[in-house]
Structures are given as C-alpha cells and as structure tokens.
C-alpha cells in the first residue's frame, strides 16, 4: 500500500518531526530522545499494550493513549511528560508494587530492573497499599530457569517470546486477574534451545537463570562487547564479568545476525570457555623437561630454533582462534616455507529460531572456521594425519590436541605449542607459549556467511599469557620479517591488505556490529 510510505507530521514534546505512516508514538518519541517508560513493550516482540506504563497525552484524545501501539496520525501533538502522563505512570508503578515483595536486596534483577528504575523515577517512597500482600512463591519453568511469581508483573514478554520468536508456545498465563501467573499449560518443565531468552526479556526479576542466581549484583558486572564463540553464527553478546571471571553472556542487538536473541548453548559455551587449569608461563625444552621461562627467553629460544632452519612449516590451528592470531601464524609459517595448516570443527545438531530465521545454532560449533578458511587453512576431519611423520617445523595454535596419537609431534624438528591448556600431547613440544582466550583479547571472528565481527577484551589473561598475534608479531620483528604490531587493529589492517575478502575493512569500519556479510559491500553494513 502506498499509504505505508506516506510521511506524517507529528509534534512530540514540542519537537516537530516527520515519520512514515504506521510508526507508533513510542517509536517516534525515541527519535527525538523522549524515552517513554514501558514494560510489556519489547522491540523484538508484538505489543499487547497491557502494562499501561507508556501512556502519553495526545491533544484532542479524551484519555491517555498507549504509545507502544498507537500509530502516529498526521498533525498529532503528543506530550510524554505532562502532569496527566506522569500521574498515569505513577499509578501503574504503584499498582505493580502493590503485591511486589520488594526483595530487591536478594533479587538478581536489582540494578537492571525496569520496575526499580521507574519506582525511583516516580519517587514513591511509601505505598498507600496497607492490605495484606498476595504471596505466590516460586517454581521452575525449565530445568535451569526459576520463576518468582511474586515479582512477576505479567507483562507476558516471556509468553510472547516463546509464541512469536521460538514458535514453541509453551508458556501461558495461568488463571486470570491478580491470581494470574506464568507457567506451562501442564505445569511440567519445558525445554527449548533458546529458552534463556525469556530471562533476558523479563523486565523484572521474575525469571532468573539458575546459573547466575545469587552469583553477582548487576552493578558489580563489567560489560564488554564480544562475539559468542559457541558456533559459526557469531551472535553479538555482552560479556558480564566480575573479578576476572565471566559470569554471564547476554545477547547484544544486531539486526543482521542475532537480533535480541542467542541460544542457550552459546551462553554455556561462553561461561565455560577457557575454564580449567591454564598455561600461565612460556616454557622451553631443556633436555627431557619443559622449563618455565620469561617472554624474552622464550622468544630468544624460538628465534634461535627458527634460525637453525628446522624445515618447512605445518600447523594445526583452532577455528576458535582469532583472525589476527591465525594471520600472524600464517606469516611466520611463510617465513619458514609453509606446507599449510589444518583445523578441525566439532559439530552438533542445528537448532533454528523460527521467529528470526537468520539465527541458528549452527552445526559448526566454532566461531571462526570461515576465517581460518579465508586465511588458507584447511578444514579436516583428520588433523593429526598431516602432522604424522612431519619432520620440519610443527605449530599448534590453540587446538587442545585432545585425541592426538601417541608420539604426536616427536618427529618434528621444531614443535611449538601455542595455547591455553597443556594437554599431555602438548608436553612433547619444544616451546610452549601461553595464549589468551577470545575474552582475554581483542580480535575478530568471521562468521559462517563471511561477516567479520570484532570482540573486545573483557578479562586479563592469566599469568604471563599473551595474545598470540602480539607475541608472534614481536617474533616476526626479531626475525626481520615485518613491522611491529601493537594492537589487534594494526594486525587486522595488515591482514585486510593481503586477503582480498577483507579488502576495505578495518576496525573502524567494522565497528561493534561487524561488516562484510555477503550481498552487502563492506562499508555499507558497518555499524
């Protein structure tokens, strides 16, 4: 219909603007910076207009209108912050707090709770409700999600997520009126690969993830923009970290990749990534023993070994390593004469999010298989075969070497292990260099469709662990094989000038939303 494209004039809090027909008052208000409080409205879901928080005054309308559903009409004059609008908002908050347990001190959502925010904003220190409160208790809805019925404001975001996005309408409001609560129809636990999104959409602390329950206060968490390493989708996430640990991952909005959502597998992968005993210091072989050394000693040993011309280089790399680390290894291998490298890809069943079909839990359960491929590494189901009997230089970058055959790497003239964990097979390396996980450095991954996305450093690496692109660059400089790169951005710039698929890209162009997905020129999708 042509009507859809028509532009309408609207005045919001004295600011005139033009919006396309069909725009809601709430969306129009956001364009002029007027944030209208809301609970039931979520930008990724339908709007039922039930919380009655987003009421605004419209000139000529007999009563306040729900801005989340009310479309703008031509020459509409809207006031979002008049006495009437504020009274309506105060009333909604007062009603919501009537039976609310006010258990913020022990509530997971405290500090990130929209109810708390607006209760402060409307400034109601004392309630006028003196009658007994309704007490409903708590129950689980999935094996890991706990539902605190008393805190629930029945905004139904969770119900609508399961219905509209997961297309698995298991959640319903049971009973009606004030006796209403959220549950499955049968009262049994449900399971869905995207279930934890209902915790994210909950505007209060009613739905909480047991994995995070009582672990941290929201305000104690540092937030870092990152990319989920759980599969090749590359969901944009925000890492919540506290005391050098990742305590949770939440989806970060990116309309091209994951919208507001991510899968449960990804969240668990993020939290467990890099867990366990870590390599904290560089090590060099001294006879039968690997001895801890410092970085200058380690780089001395390595440049000496390379100076002894160990022969052509082969590598086993991890598809969880960043483009920058992979590129640095490629350059080093080219110095020695490269025989190529391989990587393996653990797989698992695919799971689609039907309401946002761009997002799938992909079969490839690594974040950077595409990136490794574009840098010339080969995907292989038998990575150890290529190293078998190799007599030159052998590099292992961040592959755990789990499942490596006995005597792995012992034939190589030089065996360098760069990684985070020292599995038995890595103990036969001549030189061990501790590297960092994706959370401990900045870098990029290239997702299944070729979209390059940046992640930022959230944690310090343990001990002397350093990103491989950093130590590798230093080594290459010693070998007289190129400039010194102090930042991941500089490495990526060098990479982009060499690899045609990355042409025109740099960290600024990538921003925090990534770029370079097929069908769009690199710069056009920069965000």
């Amino acid at each position: 219909m042509n009507d859809e494209k028509k532009l309408l004039n609207v005045t919001i809090d004295g600011v005139e603007l033009e919006v396309p027909a069909g725009t809601t008052i709430l969306a129009a208000a956001e364009r002029v910076g007027a944030v209208i409080p809301r609970y039931c409205y979520h930008p990724g879901l339908s709007a039922p207009a039930v919380c009655r928080m987003c009421l605004v005054e419209v000139e000529g309308a007999p009563k306040p209108l729900a801005s989340c559903v009310q479309p703008v009409q031509d020459d509409m004059v809207v006031h979002t912050n008049t006495a009437q609008a504020r009274k309506a908002r105060r009333a909604a908050v007062e009603f919501l707090l009537m039976n609310h347990p006010l258990d913020c001190p022990i509530c997971d959502a405290a500090g990130q709770c929209e109810l708390q925010d607006y209760a402060f904003e409307t400034g109601q220190l004392k309630t006028r409700y003196v009658e007994p409160k309704l007490v409903m208790g708590r129950d689980k809805v999935t094996p890991e999600i706990v539902y605190f019925a008393d805190r629930c404001i029945l905004c139904t975001r969770c119900v609508r997520f399961m219905d509209e996005i997961a297309k698995d309408p298991v959640l319903v409001v049971i009973n009606r009126g004030q006796r209403g609560y959220i549950d499955t129809m049968t009262g049994e636990l449900f399971e869905n690969p995207f279930s934890i999104n209902i915790v994210d959409v909950c505007p209060v602390g009613a739905l909480v993830n047991e994995d995070f329950l009582f672990k941290a206060r929201a305000w104690d968490l540092d937030q870092t923009a990152s990319i989920c390493p759980g599969c090749s989708q590359g969901c944009n996430v925000s890492l919540g970290t506290k005391e050098e640990r990742i305590v949770r991952a939440k989806p970060r909005f990116n309309p091209e990749v994951n919208s507001y959502w991510m899968c449960d597998h990804g969240r668990k992968t993020v939290i467990n990534w890099g867990a366990g005993a870590r390599i904290e210091v560089p090590m060099a072989r001294d006879g039968d023993e690997l001895k801890p050394v410092d970085w200058p000693q380690a780089l001395d040993a390595l440049s000496e070994a390379i100076g002894n011309e160990p022969g052509r280089a082969r590598a086993i790399v991890s598809a969880g390593a960043s483009n920058e680390s992979l590129f640095t290894l490629r350059r080093l291998m080219e110095e020695l004469g490269s025989d190529g490298g391989v990587f393996r890809v653990p797989t698992g069943p695919e799971a689609e999010l039907p309401g946002f079909p761009k997002l799938k839990l992909r079969r490839d359960r690594v974040p950077n298989a595409k990136g490794a491929e574009l840098l010339g590494f080969q995907r292989s189901d038998a990575v150890f075969d290529s190293a078998q009997g190799h007599r030159g230089a052998l590099f292992v970058l961040e592959d755990t070497l789990e499942g490596a055959p006995d005597g792995f790497g012992t034939n190589a003239e030089l065996f360098v292990y760069i990684g985070t964990r020292l599995n038995p097979a890595a103990r036969s390396a001549d030189i061990v260099l501790p590297s960092t996980t994706f959370a401990e450095m900045a870098g990029t991954f290239t997702n299944f469709e070729g979209r390059v996305q940046r992640f930022e450093q959230a944690l310090r690496g343990p001990g002397l662990a350093r990103p491989w692109w950093l130590t590798g660059s230093a080594l290459l400089e010693r070998l007289g094989a190129g400039g010194r790169y102090r930042t991941a951005a500089e490495v990526f710039a060098a990479l982009a000038s060499e690899v045609s698929e990355y042409e025109g890209l740099n960290y600024e162009v990538l921003g925090l939303k990534g770029a370079g997905a097929p069908g769009s020129s690199a710069a056009a999708t920069a965000g």
Binding site: V50, P64, A92, F95, M98, E131, L134, V173, R176, Q178
Partner: protein, 429 residues
C-alpha cells in the same frame, strides 16, 4: 402459560411471545409471522437493509448503545476477505437476563435477525457466542439452528436467493469479559478471553483477523421487526436519539422483578414503582442501578427521568445493558458495592495492570472498612485508586469496577462515613 408479571404498560415487541411455548419451535414461530422479514430482506439489496436499520436509529442493546446500522456500514464490501458476524449472547453483565429470555422463548427471532444482519454485512459465516452456563438456553438455540437449517433458512442458497450462510453456536467457558466484543472474539478464536486494543476495530480486524460485526442478541432480535415494518414504524417508540423499545431486566428489592419491555421514552421511576411494584412492603428504595453493575448508582431522587440512553445519562448514570438493580434500605450499601467490586476482581482478565491490581485493591479496602477497620483517608484513597483505574486500560472493565465505588461515595457518602467513624451501618435491619 402466562409469562410472569406481564404489564399493560409494556410495549411487547420482542417479548410478545415470552412464555408461549408454542413460539419456540419453527412451525409455531412461522405461524406467528416468523421469517417473513427474512424473505423481504433477501429481496432487498444488502445495502438497502443496512440503510433501513440505519434509518430506524436502532442502537446496540449490549451496553454501549452504538448505532447498529452505522456499525454494519463499516464492514468492507469488496469481498476480498470473508466477513463474519458474531452474535453476542454471553450476557455476563450482573443483573441482566433479557437475552437469556429472548433465546429461551423466541430463538428464531434472534436467528432471523442474525441471517438478515449477515446478509446486510455480506457475511457467509455467523457465530452465536453463548454463555456456557446457560445450559437450557443452549439446548433451545441448538435445536432452533438445526430447524432453521432444515427449513433452508441457513446453509446454501437460502430461499433460492443465492445467498449462503453458515451459523455456528459457540459456548463460552465462563468469563465476564467474554461479553466485551474483542474479548468475545479472542475467546471465539480459542484464546483466553482477553480484550484487544482498538484500533483496529472488529470491522477491520475481528474474528480470525477478518472483518467482523459483533451485535447483541436483543439488537439482532429487533432487526426482523424493523425490516418487516420499516424504520418509521420503529421510530413510533422511544425518543429521537433512542428510538424503539428496550427490555429491562429488573431485579433486587422489587415486588415484581422480571423482564419488562418498554418504549424508550418510558419513565424510569414508573418502571421501578409501577411496573415492578416498588420495594417490598414497609421498605424504602435507596439506590437504583439502571444498566447493570457497570453503571453509576442512582439515588431515588435521580430516577425521575426517561429510560432513553440520553435520559439516563443526563440523570447521572447510563442505560447500559438494561439490567436494573434496586437496592432498598435493608441492605448495607457498602457491602453491596464491595460484592460488585469482588465480582470485577474475580473477572478481571489480568492483562492490564491498573485493572488487575486496582480491582483487588478497591475490594480489599472496602472489606477492611466493612470489618470496622476503616480509616478517614480511605475515602480519598478509594476515589484516587478509582480515578487511576478509569480510562487507563484496554477495555472498560477497569472503569466498571471503579464506577460503583466512586458513584457510591459521591452519592451515599454517609454510608461510608458511618462505617468508618462508628463502625455502624445505615441499613435498617
């Protein structure tokens, strides 16, 4: 069998055959002039039928009083999507029992109205949404629908006109809010009976997302009479703005409770005192609720008005559904109001914050006052909570719950004050 309490001052248009068991079946109904209007309608064009209903000034009898013909004219005529008619037979408003009687005694009167309306709005499928608790009525209506199919008034090519109509009887599962038109449509679709935001209005997006007209049983039952006899004939009753007749379901403290059909210019006080016989011997009426529990209470001084939509509104209340509840001086008014609010708290669907929480809050305050623990600040509090509930929600249930409290305090403040100050009641026991 004589229908109880027939009164000579009634104008018995829709209720003429109440109590006449022979009028229930299709043969008996035909003998009484049934389905003549349908034949006439099918010879007219759909728009012509709509026009007659528009001219008659017939207004919705479910409570809102929206002009029926105008509502019909909103339905799309392009035939791109199927149009539907939903006959609202949920009749959930407390104190209202007129639709029940129309269906029980004259089901074909309603069915004929449904067919004519469906024809006028170009619907090929109509639904009767009946309150599931009315088991006996459901039986009668089901039988009547079967009869109408057998006679060829429903189904394909009705009376050779080329017009097809299916009619489905759908039973509600017991929710007050299923009587609100968008709540009814949600329930009809198999969902929780939760009202939806308007716009879009049902005429744009109604049942199953298709254009739908929702009309009350009494509205539709009046249609055959109007089509058969013309708009001017119908306008001989009532007022300019409220033509025709209306059934009032009168209950409470009355000597002769029951359904009374009167011209819409009839005097409300006479309806209460003459037709219904006033309160029982030795008692005085205190309050009259003229249109179901959702409309403001009236004092006895206020009821000297005519029963038209505008007449009752000018007197300080609303005609609503025509469910008249009389309360005399033997009743504790606070308790009566509290029970009404309890009803709304029980029936709130719980979608909207203000209604879900406000209804219970009001009820809890009233219960505390009733118990003798009232505080002086409770009256302004009740009024403010009521103000925060009115006009703030998707549907009017929230407003309805606040209405008896707010109008009760405004008009019978002494009752509340007596409870709060002295712990006593003004009721004469």
């Amino acid at each position: 069998m004589a229908y109880p309490h027939a009164h000579p001052r009634e104008v018995r248009l829709l209720s003429k055959y109440f109590g006449d068991e022979d009028a229930i079946g299709i043969e008996g109904w035909a003998e009484r002039g049934g389905y003549v209007a349908l034949e006439k309608a099918l010879e007219m064009g759909p728009d012509e039928v709509t026009e007659v209903v528009k001219e008659s000034g017939l207004r919705g009898r479910g409570g809102a009083g929206f002009p029926a013909g105008l509502k019909w004219s909103f339905m799309p005529k392009d035939g791109k999507r199927p149009n539907y008619l939903a006959c609202n037979a949920d009749e959930s408003e407390p104190g209202t029992f007129k639709d029940r009687e129309i269906m029980r005694w004259t089901p074909h009167q309603m069915i004929e109205g449904i067919i004519i309306c469906s024809y006028a709005i170009r619907a090929q499928h109509a639904y009767i949404y009946i309150r599931g608790e009315m088991v006996d009525v459901v039986r009668v209506v089901n039988d009547a629908v079967v009869e109408a199919y057998r006679k060829g008034y429903l189904g394909e090519n009705i009376l050779g006109s080329g017009y097809d109509l299916e009619l489905t009887v759908h039973l509600g599962a017991g929710a007050y809010i299923a009587g609100e038109e968008t709540g009814l449509l949600s329930s009809l679709e198999g969902r929780r009976a939760e009202p939806k935001v308007k716009p879009p209005f049902p005429a744009q997006r109604g049942a199953f997302g298709m254009p739908t007209t929702v009309n009350n049983v009494e509205t539709l039952a009046a249609v055959p009479h109007i089509v058969e006899n013309g708009a001017d004939w119908y306008r001989q009753w009532g007022t300019e703005k409220s033509p025709g007749t209306k059934l009032f379901s009168c209950c409470g403290h009355l000597q002769r409770p029951g359904n009374y059909e009167v011209s819409l210019d009839f005097n409300l006080k006479e309806l209460v005192y003459d037709l219904c016989g006033g309160p029982p011997e030795g008692r005085q009426l205190r309050a009259v609720i003229p249109g179901g529990s959702s409309v403001p209470l009236m004092t006895v001084d206020e009821i000297d008005c005519d029963v038209s939509y505008e007449g009752i509104e000018a007197a300080g209340s609303l005609q609503g559904s025509g469910g008249l509840i009389a309360i005399d001086d033997s009743a504790c008014l606070l308790r009566s109001i509290r029970k009404m609010v309890d009803f709304y708290a029980h029936e709130s669907c719980g979608q909207c914050t203000n209604c879900r929480e406000g209804t219970v809050w009001l009820a809890n305050i009233l219960r505390r006052i009733e118990r003798g623990d009232g505080r002086e600040e409770d009256l302004p509090l009740l009024l403010d909570v009521g103000a925060n509930m009115a006009g703030r929600t998707i549907c009017p249930l929230s407003d309805s719950a606040a209405v008896p409290v707010v109008s009760g305090i405004q008009k019978f403040e002494e009752e509340f004050v007596a409870h709060i100050k002295d712990g006593t009641c003004t009721a004469v026991r």
